[in-house]
């Protein structure tokens, strides 16, 4: 009896120590980091020249031909401009790239942290940690991460806000005056790079100056990304509704939140699995002892 109890306790201790689930501060997921940077794209300024598409390819060393621009993001395209044309004659360009979510689905999905929300809130991809399981593609509400389907040694590809250009890993700061490829190239400042708080202020000011120019539900101009899906560090203004431009209709909290809460609820402190293991073992041990008595 004592022997088995000791074994059980030892098992509990080992299992408990080995797999304690760290609980992270919840505010990490509800607000952008203080130093967050991002993009503001104003569809009313965009002229669809696609200079940003070419600039993105150059900045990220991706193959492509400016005379045959891609129609969608793919394994070799981190940024595109598409045209929406309504039946009533309204039209709008729209830029697609990673939204750099405040609570990124990809980073929640990724098993050993190939996707991370890093310094300045930039969501990056680390090839040394990626096994190509593509759960990030399932988890991203905007379908942003792309996979290289045509090679035996594929990568996941998505906008990393030109982290390699704007961020200096030695000092841990942003390089003075450095811009992501798309923002360098845009002739109309339709997409601009900046501190998240500055971008929000800028967007609000544009709305205040020209409320008639921007679309919003019930005539109230909307900044897409301010709250959608828990908020994103890339913000959008447009004069047609965002669902027409291909944006999903998201709640004001990250998709990841509920999944995370359920997963953590079940596995909090790894108590439930360890307890279950102990109970299972004890029940079987009693069964075995009872059977032994019957036979003996």
């Amino acid at each position: 009896m004592s022997m088995d109890r000791r074994t059980l306790l030892k098992g509990l201790a080992i299992a408990g120590a080995g797999a304690v689930t760290p609980l992270e501060a919840s505010e990490k997921y509800t607000a952008p980091p203080d130093d967050a940077v991002g993009l503001l794209y104003d569809a009313t300024r965009c002229i669809g020249c696609q200079a940003c598409v070419t600039a993105c390819k150059n900045a990220n060393d991706l193959p492509g031909n400016r005379y045959d621009p891609p129609r969608d993001l793919d394994g070799y395209t981190k940024n595109i401009i598409r045209l929406y044309e309504g039946e009533d004659g309204t039209y709008s360009y729209v830029k697609s790239q990673c939204m750099h979510c405040i609570d990124p689905g990809c980073a929640n999905a990724c098993m050993i942290g190939a996707y991370k929300k890093r310094e300045f809130g930039i969501v990056t991809w680390d090839p040394s940690r990626c096994i190509g399981c593509r759960y990030c593609q399932v988890a991203c509400p905007y379908n942003i991460p792309k996979f290289q389907w045509d090679t035996g040694v594929p990568k996941m590809v998505k906008c990393e806000l030109c982290n390699h250009i704007i961020y200096d890993p030695e000092t841990g700061t942003l390089r003075e005056g450095a811009l992501p490829g798309c923002c360098q190239a845009c002739p109309k400042e339709a997409v601009i790079f900046g501190k998240y708080t500055d971008l929000v202020a800028d967007a609000k000011q544009r709305i205040a100056e020209h409320p008639e120019r921007y679309w919003g539900p019930d005539g109230e101009p909307k900044i897409f990304g301010l709250t959608d899906g828990g908020g994103t560090q890339v913000l959008y203004l447009a004069d047609v509704s965002f669902d027409k431009l291909g944006f999903p209709d998201l709640e004001n909290e990250g998709t990841a939140k509920q999944a995370r809460e359920i997963q953590h609820g079940i596995y909090r402190g790894f108590i439930a699995p360890v307890a279950l293991y102990g109970v299972l073992g004890l029940v079987m041990w009693r069964n075995k002892r009872a059977a032994g008595k019957e036979e003996g």
Partner: protein, 401 residues
């Protein structure tokens, strides 16, 4: 704990026709797999950036491991609920489970794009620390499945040791086998407990996984109760597989049918299915989705077909007279396997909608890769039951082995 079972090898030569057919299927399969590794997943599959997971995940991994829950489901009965009479079903069930999970692991290697880095998962990206992302249900699934494959083969160990102890001419091997069997006598309990714990964890997490798809998953399938629904349905599928497999091996190897046992196992299925359906509907009603059952267009139809596949076996098995009728039992098992499979396909593919105008249908080569994985599993099962003591009972014609 019945480490010396009454199971015996089927014995006899391998069926030549069977071996030839399997060799051809697996030979072609090897070429297709090589092609996939060299030229990428795109050339052999219908997968896209919008449907990154297809049959390899939905069938080979998610459905495959659920169908491989026979070992888990029977262990709950035999060891936890202490129904000793089920012991003869344990070993064949564990073998199917071990093979099913091993094949799922193989399918994962075929499916992931950067498979050469898979070893980093158990190490959390070692040598750099803090690599595990405990928010990821997939991480939990991956670690649990890897561990469980090992546990299943360890659970099956006595089958191999008994054979060596009984027949090996190598005295060192016999000694090793004796030592091993002694170890099992002491430790089997804790191994089996692990063999019950691990599937409880990852079979539920296979459902939790799809919660991250958020709005891409249709509301009829998106529910916080999904871990529980996955767990309960996999237990039902496990029993169904055991019944079906027992019937099949009765026919193929001319063994006596474990009729009484299968009838009461079918009774266990009734409880499981009833609980599943109760929770499935309770969730929809409580979360105010009742009307969606009728207003979701063709997905409503899919939903009701799925429900019917659960409900019909419930009806077929509900009364003792009906479930004692052997054809009823077999039909119910097959329908229940299909039901669980459809529930999984629906959550992973059919009810998953990444955006307007996006569709997925598996390509021929993609399906062939899955067929090859199944063929490999069947071949291994056949060879192992021929050579090692897995299946209990005496031949129906009474001749001793």
């Amino acid at each position: 704990m019945a480490s010396h079972s009454h199971a015996q090898p089927i014995g006899g030569p391998l069926n030549k026709k069977f071996v030839t057919v399997m060799t051809v299927i697996l030979g072609i399969w090897a070429v297709v797999v090589l092609y996939r590794f060299i030229f990428g997943i795109g050339v052999v599959s219908g997968l896209t950036d919008y449907y990154p997971w297809g049959v390899w995940i939905a069938f080979d991994v998610v459905t495959g491991t659920a169908l491989a829950c026979g070992g888990y489901a029977v262990a709950i009965l035999a060891y936890i609920l202490n129904k000793g009479k089920y012991h003869p079903l344990v070993r064949p069930a564990i073998l199917t489970s071990a093979l099913g999970y091993s094949m799922a692991a193989l399918a994962i290697i075929l499916d992931v794009g950067r498979w050469w880095g898979i070893w980093k998962i158990p190490l959390g990206g070692w040598p750099s620390v803090g690599g595990y992302n405990w928010n990821s249900a997939l991480l939990e699934v991956a670690l649990c499945v890897m561990a469980y494959v090992g546990v299943l083969w360890i659970e099956l160990g006595p089958a191999f040791l008994e054979k060596w102890e009984a027949t090996s001419k190598n005295s060192a091997l016999v000694g090793f086998a004796r030592l091993g069997l002694k170890f099992y006598d002491k430790a089997m309990l804790w191994i089996v407990a692990l063999g019950v714990l691990l599937p409880t964890m990852h079979q539920s997490s296979l459902g939790t996984l799809m919660l991250l798809a958020g709005k891409k998953l249709n509301l009829l399938w998106y529910t916080p109760w999904i871990p529980l629904l996955y767990l309960i349905s996999c237990i039902g599928m496990g029993y169904a597989v055991v019944v079906w497999e027992s019937a099949l091996s009765h026919r193929a190897f001319k063994r006596e049918r474990e009729n009484d046992m299968l009838v009461s196992l079918s009774g266990a299925m009734v409880v499981v299915i009833a609980l599943y359906l109760l929770l499935r509907f309770a969730d929809l009603v409580i979360s105010g989705k009742t009307v969606l059952m009728f207003t979701s267009g063709w997905l409503s139809l899919v939903f009701w077909v799925e429900i019917a596949l659960f409900a019909v076996p419930l009806f077929l098995l509900a009364s003792k007279t009906r479930r004692s009728h052997f054809p009823n039992m077999i039909l119910a098992s097959i329908l229940l396997m299909l039901a669980g499979a459809m529930y999984r396909f629906d959550t992973y593919i059919t009810a998953y909608n990444p955006g307007p105008g996006k569709t997925y249908f598996p390509s021929l080569l993609e399906i062939y890769i899955t067929v090859g994985v199944i063929a490999l599993e069947i071949t291994l099962y056949y060879v192992i039951v021929k050579r090692y003591p897995i299946i209990g009972g005496v031949p129906a014609d009474g001749s001793a082995q």
